[in-house]
Amino acid sequence: MHLGPLYRTALRLTGNDADAQDLVQETVLRAFRFFDSFEPGTNCRAWLFRILMNTFVNEYRKRVRGPQQVDLDETTMGTLESRADQAIVSLPATPEEVVSAGMLDGDLKEGLRALPPEFRAAVLLCDVEEFSYKEIAEMTQVPVGTVMSRIHRGRRALREFLLRRRRAKPVRALSAGA
C-alpha cells in the first residue's frame, strides 16, 4: 500500500493526526471513485499523490482555514529569504552542525510548519518522497520552474528558522553536548 507515504505527507501538510487521517481517507475514496482516470502503466504512486494534493488544496484548506492560519504570500517569503541570507552570512553553520548542537526534532517540524503550505509541500515531495520536479509540477499544477523556486526558497527559509533556533538556545545546546 501507499498509505504510509500518503499519511506522512498529509501529517506534515495539515500539522495534526486527525486532519491527516481525514485527508488520506478522502484521498483514497477519491482514488476509488476516479479509478477509471488512472492510466495503467503510469506511476500509481504519483497519481495518488496528485489526488492528495488536489484534495488538500481544493477541499481541506478551504474547510479548515481559520483566522489563526495565515498564508504567507510571495512577499512574505521574500522577507524570510532576505533574513535567511543575512543569517547564513553571519552564521555559516550547516544543518548537520545545527543538529549536533542540540537541535530537537521538534525544531525541524516547527520550521516546516512555518513554511507556506505550497513551499512545504514542494520540499517534502522532493526530499522525503523523492518525486522529480516534473512529477511535483503535475501534482501541484504549476510549472516546473515554480517547483524549483519553491524548493529553493522553502529550504532557505527552513535553514534560517533552524539557525535562529540555534542562536536562541546556545546555552542549552552547549550543556546538551557536554
Binding site: G4, Y7, A31, F32, P95, E96, L124, L158
Partner: protein, 274 residues
Amino acid sequence: MDCREIQEQITAFVDRELPLEESARLSEHLHACPSCRSTEERERDLKRLVRSRCADVALPYGFAERVRASLPGDDAARPAAAVLPEQRTGRSSRIAGGGAPRVFSGWLAAAAIGFLAIAGTLVWSRSGVEPVLAEALVDEHARFAKGLDLGIRESDPKSAAAWLSAAAGSPVPVPDLRPKGGRMVGAQMCRLLTQGHGAVLYEVEGQPVTLFIPPSGMIEQGADGIGREGWKPVRVKGRNAVSWKDARGGVCWAVSDLPHERMREIVTVAAADR
C-alpha cells in the same frame, strides 16, 4: 558561469535535476569556488536532514483497516488490488499489523522487522554484493553522474588511463566504449571498501555509466558469483550494476540505469581491455 548564476542552479543540482552537461559545468565551478561549494554542502545537508527526520512516520493504529472498511463494498477488490497496490518495502510493512490485537502488534512488528532483516541479508549474500560495497558503488556513481568530484575531464581513454595510473601508482586500464556508443566524460580515483579504484564516467544513450576499475595488482573484491559467462548482473539500491573480471583478472564494476543486457555489451568491450 558566475556565482550568482550558480546559486540559482544549486538547488536543481543537488536534486539531480540538471542535465549532465550543465551539471558538469557547475561541478567544475564548485571545485574552484569554496563559497559556492559551501552553499552546495548546506543545501545537500538540509535535504538529508529533512528526509531523515520526516520519512519515518508510523501509521496510527488500525488506520489501514479503517480506510479499507470505508471503501464501498461491492468493488472492494478493485482498490485493494489496483488503486492501492501492495508495496513490498519494509517501511509500509507496519501497516500489516493494523488488524491484530494491540497486545500482539508490537511483537508482530518486531518479528516482521527481524524477518525482513534476515531476508535482506539473504538477498545480499545471494547477489554477492556486500551492503557496504553496494552503498559505495551507488553513492560514488551518483556523485560522478552529477559531474561532481571528477578529477579530470577527458574524452580520450588513453589520457584518462595515464592520469589514473599516475594517481594510483599502478596501471589502470580505461576501456574505450566509443564502438558501443559510449562517450567518456571524465575520471577520478575513489575508494571502494578499503581499496582505491579508478572511476570512469561515460555517457551511453544519454545515461551516465560509471566503471570502477582496480589498479593492477589489487586484491580482488566482490569476485564471488562471477560465473563462467564472465559477468554478474545485480541490483544495488535500485540501480543496475554488473561486475566482471577484466583481462588482468581484476574485478571491475559498472553502475547505471541502463538495462542489464545493454550493460553486458559494455562489459564485453571493457573486459577485453588491457
